[in-house]
């Protein structure tokens, strides 16, 4: 099947799915002003399927981070349409973006844990954003997640006393504790050993199956790619390959 046919097959069909958590239509994005203005995304169309793990591939500068941050409500849509969990983000104000972000989970390549908070407290921050009602039983929920990620013995450790991999797993727990509808992850397994990486991705897949959590992940880890339900490849701001949902 040639590339154009594959793109049409896996974009147009998904775009019309009513339960798709993310639908992107004709998305263009630029950086800079005037003569320095440079286009980063060109007419991107895609839809993510609920509960599936999608891997985004591409060389540096291909536009994958731009696409991820647009879907994550961290940038404003300049041109085209981006519907996230039923909300159109084009023209949305900051309050709408903040509300949408509360339904998402972010795992950054750098863990960005708060150095003065323990592992449990860092995870708690992923719940506290949802208000007091969400805080009932936070200790049990946080401890459970950390234990699932192999950190049962490190619950009350400060990040300074954790290894890089342990910190990253705390960051994963922080992203997942609020039961997000979608998880956006940027090289989440880069700091993890093989077992921890597989354990983490298996957890994300399990959440997809059990809770319908959708995951969009930027990774170059070949071990992870084999677990992906779908692989999308970006090149120079365009989707050049889409494996479709397996």
């Amino acid at each position: 099947m040639d590339l154009t046919a594959r793109r049409e097959r896996y974009t147009d069909g998904d775009l019309n799915r009513p339960d798709a958590p993310v639908v992107v239509r004709g998305l263009n994005h630029w950086f800079g002003e005037g003569e320095a203005r440079k286009q980063a995304l060109f007419d991107v169309n895609l839809a993510l399927e609920r509960g599936k793990l999608t891997v985004l591939l591409g060389a540096s500068g291909s536009g994958k981070t731009t696409l991820l941050t647009l879907m994550g409500c961290l940038r404003r849509v300049q041109d085209g349409s981006l519907t996230l969990l039923g909300t159109e983000l084009a023209g949305a104000d900051e309050q709408v973006l903040v509300r949408c972000r509360r339904r998402l989970g972010f795992i950054f390549q750098a863990h960005n844990l708060h150095e003065s908070l323990t592992a449990m407290e860092n995870v708690r921050m992923g719940l506290e954003v949802h208000g007091k009602a969400a805080m009932a039983g936070w200790e049990r929920a946080s401890a459970h997640l950390l234990e699932m990620l192999g950190l049962g013995e490190r619950l009350h450790y400060l990040p300074g006393n954790l290894s890089g991999g342990q910190k990253q797993r705390v960051a994963v727990a922080r992203a997942l504790v609020g039961n997000p509808d979608i998880v956006f992850a940027d090289e989440p397994t880069a700091a993890l050993d093989k077992n921890s990486a597989l354990n983490t991705v298996t957890l994300l897949k399990r959440l997809g199956t059990e809770r319908g959590t959708t995951t969009l992940m930027v990774t170059h880890d070949t071990k992870i790619m084999s677990l992906a339900d779908r692989i999308i490849t970006l090149e120079d701001g365009r989707i050049v390959e889409d494996s479709g949902t397996t």
């Binding site: 903040v98 972010f106 708060h114 150095e115 908070l117 007091k132």
Partner: protein
């Protein structure tokens, strides 16, 4: 503390946790806030002592109204007043009595050669011009030539001197070529311009100050007849006395004017006022430095929280939480150190320096405001926390 703050704030007290995480910086910040608090409390204390010392002689006046020269700013300055104004005042309806008050300064040389500056009141010994019972009990004594009563609070006087005088042992010293005999003591206290007071009869005063004349006192103390309307009598006096050489005020009005002049137009008052401003500025700068550094160091964490969905209000809450904690925890040691310093200053100078509840509350509120202002300036850096930069 964490649990208490968490309960009060209804969230994890991140500001507090950030502060205690870096204990060295916290200690430096608290020392800075405490230093600023001490600076402000001490300057306000000195300013308060200045005001209290200005009030001391006014509180001694057994009068309702005070007639002074129209160019008078303080008790000590201004031209002498024609005693004729006293007789004119006595003709005004509502006035019961009027008596002259002579005011001067002498230098009391100590055995070690040092000088004590004394403010001298010359009064009519047949009238209770002052409210001080210790003075009024010895009026007949000072009616004798060159006899005086002295303030037992005069600073830096040999131990036992006043006790001996009070016990009945007269003390003699030379001043302005005359020998004064001090036969009793009273208590008023020193200020910024004098170490204490000396009370003599008007006749002794005129002998001590030969360039002064009986017909030109410094002030005239006026007492109202029972039931007389003070405002009405004041108006009548003002209408009766020529405004070009005399001014009539209540004692309280005269004190207010004196206080305003000395605190806003005399260098000593201005210096203390500037001291307060400098203390506040020092506090703002120290707290701002601490908070802005703290914000800058946590930008990535804040950006992460932004990505998670925390609003700007949450971050402002953290910065203000830190500011308020620094204010309260810094004020307490500052207050305690100031109390200690007040005690030392009173012991050394005898100035009427006292910590008042109102001053403590005022400085605490000021410290809170100062820290909140620093926090508000520091929050501008929060805008740099862009979650899109995290990827």
């Amino acid at each position: 503390m964490t649990a208490l703050l968490g309960h009060l704030l209804g969230r994890l007290p991140i500001g507090w946790l950030q502060l205690v995480h870096n204990k060295t910086r916290l200690a430096a910040a608290l020392a800075g806030v405490a230093f600023a608090s001490v600076l402000v409390l001490m300057q306000l204390g000195f300013l308060g002592a200045l005001v209290a010392s200005i009030r001391l002689p006014y509180d001694q006046m057994n009068a309702d109204l005070l007639i002074s020269a129209s160019d008078m700013n303080t008790l000590a300055d201004g031209s002498p007043l024609p005693r004729q104004r006293m007789f004119e005042a006595l003709t005004v309806e509502g006035v019961q009595n009027a008596t002259p008050l002579y005011y001067g300064k002498i230098e009391w040389k100590q055995p070690d050669g040092t000088i004590r500056n004394l403010d001298v009141f010359g009064i009519d010994p047949s009238v209770e011009s002052l409210r001080n019972p210790a003075i009024n009990a010895r009026l007949s004594d000072i009616s004798l030539s060159d006899v005086a009563l002295i303030d037992a609070k005069v600073r830096n006087v040999p131990k036992g001197l006043f006790a001996a005088i009070t016990a009945g042992e007269p003390y003699r010293f030379e001043v302005k070529g005359r020998t004064l005999t001090v036969v009793g003591t009273f208590e008023i206290g020193g200020g910024f311009s004098a170490d204490g007071y000396l009370v003599v009869s008007d006749q002794t005063f005129l002998r001590l100050f030969p360039n002064r004349v009986a017909g030109a006192p410094n002030h005239i103390l006026v007492t109202l007849a029972p039931g007389a309307d003070a405002a009405l009598t004041l108006d009548r006096l003002r209408a009766t006395l020529p405004a070009d050489d005399s001014i009539v005020r209540t004692v309280e009005e005269a004190f207010d004017r004196d206080q305003a002049f000395q605190t806003t137009q005399r260098p000593v008052g201005l210096v203390f006022g500037f001291g307060v401003v400098i203390g506040i500025l020092v506090g703002i700068i120290i707290v701002y430095q601490v908070l802005s550094t703290d914000v800058a160091e946590h930008l990535k964490e804040y950006a992460t929280f932004k990505a998670i969905g925390y609003s700007q209000r949450f971050f402002l809450g953290i910065v203000f939480e830190e500011a308020l904690i620094l204010a309260i925890l810094g004020f307490v040691p500052g207050f305690l150190v100031s109390l200690l310093l007040y005690t030392v200053v009173v012991a050394v100078t005898g100035l009427p320096l006292a910590m008042t509840g109102a001053r403590a509350v005022f400085v605490l509120v000021g410290t809170l405001g100062m820290c909140a202002l620093s926090g508000a300036i520091a929050t501008r850096k929060l805008a740099r926390a862009n979650p899109a930069d995290l990827f």
